[in-house]
């Protein structure tokens, strides 16, 4: 490669950015899988740009935890107008940055729980669950799993949002016995991976009987691959929820567009894209209902969810219990 090429390329990229400067730009910072061509990003961008007279730009940043770290790195200078993809385990820390403004949207949300957060607005949600193969032995509760010989792959709570979700799940179901549940689970855990993809890949390769994922994961296999061999295990303690939210950055230079986007986010055009691209439940059920196949999914009887403040307060202690129990 010619050494003069790179500055030139960087320069061209800059020109390309400024050429678009006449149309207002709304920058949405989100996690990676949201913006890929298989994610919700492209369809949502097209739908919003058809009405807003603006350029909607997604910036992908790894997973949900990376998203928060990125925002904290950028601080008040961030160019992002919207941050989309945090979950309730992260919103307390996000709120603490003081970077967010009230979302101001009132919408009828179809969540199994009441939602009152003034700064963060849900766009989808799901239940964590162990996903295994249909027709094979299943556990019926966390305790049952811990007592069984079944093998599972989980994610590390320190580097993965589902991993953190399981930590909270155990802590919410067994506030005082979490340490002993983890100790009993230790011999069931084949391994702990740093991210969801590694764990899910290992499960598909047959390394474990089940993997920590979502109740909606079987829907992907059913709808996209016409494969009904995956099932989510229903647990008696109930299932911890992941509620994914978006927030408006207080220092945005496009407050009207940001408001318009948040209103759009809970409308049909956005919500109908979610189930078969993000493989989660939409925060507002679209008028046409959920796609065929979703009715086959296991629906937990009990929904567990800590408030962002409780989740933040319990996190470090729960992590210590986890680490001690699994390091024996």
């Amino acid at each position: 490669m010619n050494t003069t090429y790179l500055p030139l390329a960087a320069g061209l990229a800059l020109c390309a950015t400024s050429a678009l400067a006449e149309t207002p730009v709304l920058q949405v910072m989100t996690y990676d899988s949201f913006v890929t061509e298989w994610g919700p990003g492209p369809a949502i961008e097209a739908a919003f740009e058809a009405t807003c007279g603006c350029d909607l730009q997604f910036v992908g940043t790894g997973d949900g935890a990376a998203l928060l770290a990125r925002l904290q790195l950028e601080g008040p200078r961030t160019e992002a107008d919207i941050v989309l993809g945090l979950d309730t385990n992260l919103t307390a820390a996000a709120r603490e940055t003081g970077l967010f403004a009230p979302h101001g949207v009132t919408a009828e949300l179809d969540l199994p729980i009441a939602w009152t957060d003034a700064e963060f607005l849900p766009f989808d949600w799901g239940y964590f669950a162990f996903v295994g193969n249909a027709g094979e032995a299943q556990a019926t509760s966390l305790r049952d799993l811990a007592a069984s010989d079944l093998k599972i792959v989980i994610q590390d709570p320190r580097s993965s949002t589902p991993g953190l979700g399981l930590l909270m799940w155990v802590k919410t179901a067994y506030p005082d016995e979490a340490a002993s549940i983890w100790a009993d689970l230790a011999d069931n855990i084949v391994t702990v991976t740093s991210g969801w993809s590694e764990a899910y890949g290992m499960f598909l390769e047959g390394e474990a009987d089940a993997v920590l994922s979502y109740t909606t994961s079987p829907a992907y296999h059913l709808i996209a691959e016409e494969d009904d061999s995956k099932v989510a295990w229903a647990f008696e303690e109930g299932h911890y929820m992941q509620v994914e939210v978006a927030g408006k950055v207080a220092g945005t230079d496009q407050p009207e567009l940001a408001d318009a986007f948040l209103a759009f986010m809970v409308s049909d055009a956005f919500q109908s894209v979610i189930p078969t691209t993000n493989w989660m439940y939409p925060a507002v059920t679209p008028t046409d209902g959920l796609p065929a196949g979703f009715e086959t999914l296991m629906t937990p009887e009990t929904s567990l969810l800590l408030s962002p403040e409780d989740a933040a307060a319990m996190r470090d202690g729960a992590l210590e219990e986890w680490r001690t129990a699994l390091s024996q």
């Binding site: 490669m1 580097s159 084949v190």
Partner: protein
């Protein structure tokens, strides 16, 4: 390194290279530390992580190097059809993205893998791969190829005259020629692999089976991503650098002085080629261990390789451009450093290995962010970082022969009054074609497969092939991702092969 006069080469290329290395290692660390709010020191759990990291890195490096010696010796002594192809293929595991290699290994050694199927069929109980032995297995799988190549290079650098002389005198080749060569080559090979394993994170955790297998790099991840405690991340990164510098100095102290001396640059012929069976047994064992998991990667990826979406091909093209750019930059820097030599450069040369990927990325982000949109410079930063991260390998590949050229031809060059470019072009480059080709190929292939900092910087339009592959996996597209992984593997190997062959077109290896 050079005790005799050597031709004068300009200082500035080595200074520029040193500055780039220092700014991407200590500079990015400084940026992170400067931005940090200093709240906490290192907790006991962090020291447990440090201990685990050092132990597994030491064992991984020791096993890799010990196993590589007989394999490299066998490859150096034997000539057979497909030898060159085999040597290239044996290098492949080192070039694989972590997650692909792990899935390949599991397909062989995992619960549903070939090995356990065979054990069960024979009536034995299946074995579990997860634990310390799994970490070591994975690290040896990754690094044995590198160790074989480095040690093989050492063997091939012994001048043919020595073997001829030894054969004439019926002298012991091992004691007089091979062992002295190993004493030069082994410490630096061990060091490089030790440092690679020192910064391992996803492999150690996934194969280690749980939080017992927490490495320093994972603790850094936790500090940045989970606690947003940049101060602690910076401290942990300092520990990593401290270990690196300590190990580098130790390795340099026990490295023997190169005593093989100059030859006539002729093709090596060997007369001590008895016991061919043992040599071929080593070659076959290494090939099975390294190539069967690779075969699994190929098998998984093959069905969908022609149905890959256009974005993957675009990402592949972007990756090739980035890889070519960083390979050229990397080898230029390595050459600049190698022709000057010296202790400081030896330390600078291994520093990037001890750099935490996350700290480098975060620091670079903090430096760039106030001035420019990170996505606009994503590919440029990736070229710089990848070139720097590959520098230790390139330097390790060309360093010994650069020192040898200085030692063998330095006096001649100096007496002829050769300086600067003329010396490099007429004497150094032709003597170093083989290691330069190897180094370029290695740098290109490493850059090709490296996820590196791109994940922190890139938007959709700057996606490279490894990043695209990870994003596919994140979107449940495991089969498409497997095909993308195969494409990545093929392109990395192809780039490596082109450069490697280019360097040794008229050589006998």
């Amino acid at each position: 390194m050079a005790h005799s006069p050597v031709p004068v080469t300009p200082r500035w290329p080595s200074i520029v290279a040193t500055m780039l290395v220092l700014s991407l290692t200590f500079g990015t660390l400084g940026a992170v530390a400067w931005r940090a709010e200093w709240a906490s020191g290192l907790a006991p759990a962090d020291w447990v992580a440090v201990r685990f990291t050092v132990v597994q890195a030491f064992l991984s490096a020791a096993i890799s190097v010990l196993l590589a010696i007989p394999v490299a010796r066998a490859l150096a002594r034997r000539r057979f059809r497909g030898r060159q192809l085999l040597i290239t293929l044996l290098g492949a595991p080192f070039l694989l993205p972590v997650i692909v290699a792990v899935l390949g290994l599991l397909a062989v050694f995992g619960r549903g893998g070939v090995l356990n199927d065979a054990l069960t069929a024979l009536g034995f109980s299946p074995i579990s791969i997860f634990g310390m032995h799994g970490v070591l297995l994975a690290h040896v799988f990754f690094n044995l190829p590198l160790a074989i190549r480095f040690i093989l290079q050492g063997w091939l650098s012994i001048p043919s005259e020595r073997f001829r002389l030894a054969a004439t005198l019926n002298a012991p080749v091992w004691r007089l020629l091979e062992w002295p060569m190993l004493r030069v080559v082994l410490p630096s090979t061990f060091l490089v692999i030790f440092l690679i394993c020192l910064t391992s994170f996803a492999v150690a955790l996934a194969m280690g089976g749980g939080p017992r297998a927490t490495t320093i790099e994972l603790a850094i991840y936790q500090s940045v991503r989970f606690d947003f405690d940049l101060g602690k991340a910076a401290l942990l990164a300092c520990v990593q650098f401290g270990l690196c510098v300590g190990a580098a100095i130790l390795a340099l102290r026990i490295t023997a002085e190169d005593v093989t001396g100059a030859g006539m640059d002729r093709v090596v012929q060997r007369w001590d080629v008895a016991r061919a069976g043992v040599d071929y047994a080593w070659i076959i064992a290494a090939a099975v261990f390294l190539l069967v998991p690779l075969g699994m990667v190929v098998l998984r990826g093959l069905p969908g390789i022609f149905d890959l979406p256009d974005t993957i091909w675009a990402a592949a093209l972007r990756s090739i451009i980035v890889a070519s750019g960083s390979a050229i930059l990397c080898v230029s820097m390595a050459l600049a450093l190698a022709v000057r030599g010296g202790m400081l450069i030896a330390v600078v040369g291994v520093l990037p290995l001890a750099a935490s990927g996350l700290v480098v990325g975060t620091g670079a982000f903090l430096i760039v962010f106030p001035f420019i949109r990170p996505a606009d410079v994503a590919l440029l930063v990736t070229v710089l970082v990848n070139a720097t991260l590959a520098l230790p390998f390139a330097l390790r590949a060309i360093g010994p022969s650069a020192a040898q050229v200085n030692a063998d031809y330095g006096r001649l060059g100096a007496s002829l009054g050769m300086t600067g470019w003329a010396w490099v072009r007429l004497v150094v480059l032709p003597r170093m074609r083989r290691p330069l080709g190897f180094a370029t190929g290695l740098a290109a292939a490493l850059s090709m497969g490296d996820l590196g900092v791109i994940a922190l910087f890139a938007g959709q339009a700057e996606e490279t092939l490894p990043l695209a592959m990870y994003r596919l996996m994140g979107a449940y597209r495991m089969e498409t991702a497997a095909s993308a992984a195969l494409l990545l593997l093929s392109l990395s190997l192809l780039l490596f092969w082109i450069c490697d062959r280019g360097g040794s077109a008229n050589a006998d290896v």
